[in-house]
Symmetry: C2
């Protein structure tokens, strides 16, 4: 699994375009980033091979699908293996993060309505302490992520040697 391959301006623009619309053709991508179509295709292939691009997914509108409520469930004092098992068995869990701190799990879930929310949260309550917050709105979702700006990257302190 190669990591941290050098990314230049073309790669950055390709990543921006494909995060904004993953279904454009390689020819259209080339036009947008000012590369020929074969050059764009080759760069995308390398970004995929390097693992920088890990996939392409359609985004669905949960409301249109019939899920009226999204919520964050924090889970504390849970037994690791049992929680992982319950997460894997629960399709309403969109994202599940194991985190440091008092609450060891943070889940994002989608449910139809309040009775459904109750049903899902109750399953986790049986294994651990939970705290549920309903998502009211999301001013940012799926931010397009590009390589860190140079000013944010602190070079490591060089070790003093006897050279």
């Amino acid at each position: 699994m190669p990591e941290s391959i050098p990314l230049d301006g073309y790669d950055t623009r390709i990543l921006a375009e494909l995060q904004a619309d993953a279904r454009i053709s390689m020819a259209e991508l080339g036009r947008r980033v000012h590369l020929s179509q074969p050059a764009a295709t080759e760069r995308v292939r390398k970004l995929e091979a390097a693992g920088v691009i890990s996939g392409y997914r359609a985004t669905v509108d949960l409301g249109a699908l019939g899920y009226g409520i999204r919520a964050i469930v924090r889970v504390a004092r849970a037994e690791y293996a049992r929680i992982v098992k319950l997460i894997k068995e629960t399709p309403e869990v969109i994202n599940a993060f194991n985190v440091t701190g008092e609450d060891s799990w943070i889940l994002e879930i989608a449910v139809i309505d309040v009775p459904h929310l109750d049903a899902v949260v109750t399953r986790f309550c049986l294994l651990a302490e939970t705290s549920t917050s309903i998502i009211l709105n999301a001013p940012r979702e799926h931010q397009v992520m590009l390589p860190p700006r140079a000013e944010d990257v602190k070079p490591p302190i060089r070790k003093i040697t006897n050279a």
Copy 2:
């Protein structure tokens, strides 16, 4: 913005396939869901028009991009407008949810290293109380969401009328 159009088995399978790989051709999609290519194309077009499919995005590996740490930041006692402004100015924020409860905001961020984490969190600390948890692992991410199963959908209680 049309919502809750009826979705049949074909639509469900199309949504599953496109959430798993958004770059397949309409011909390949048709093969996978056992529809002709024009039929598959037309259904995708309708799902897009109805807003069920809201977009297609490439997923990037944050580690490969150079972001070594992901974290959840909970923000409490914040002034709404100022927090929204700060979120919009902070590219490290991947997702930002305004939620019910004590902590009114839950942010997911990606940073390069601990100094960078410190820098980002400090900006939010100046406006509100924060609590930061580093993400250790994520046993589930980007769950494929399909229309709710029938057994989860509770029909509304019919009102008693004088008919």
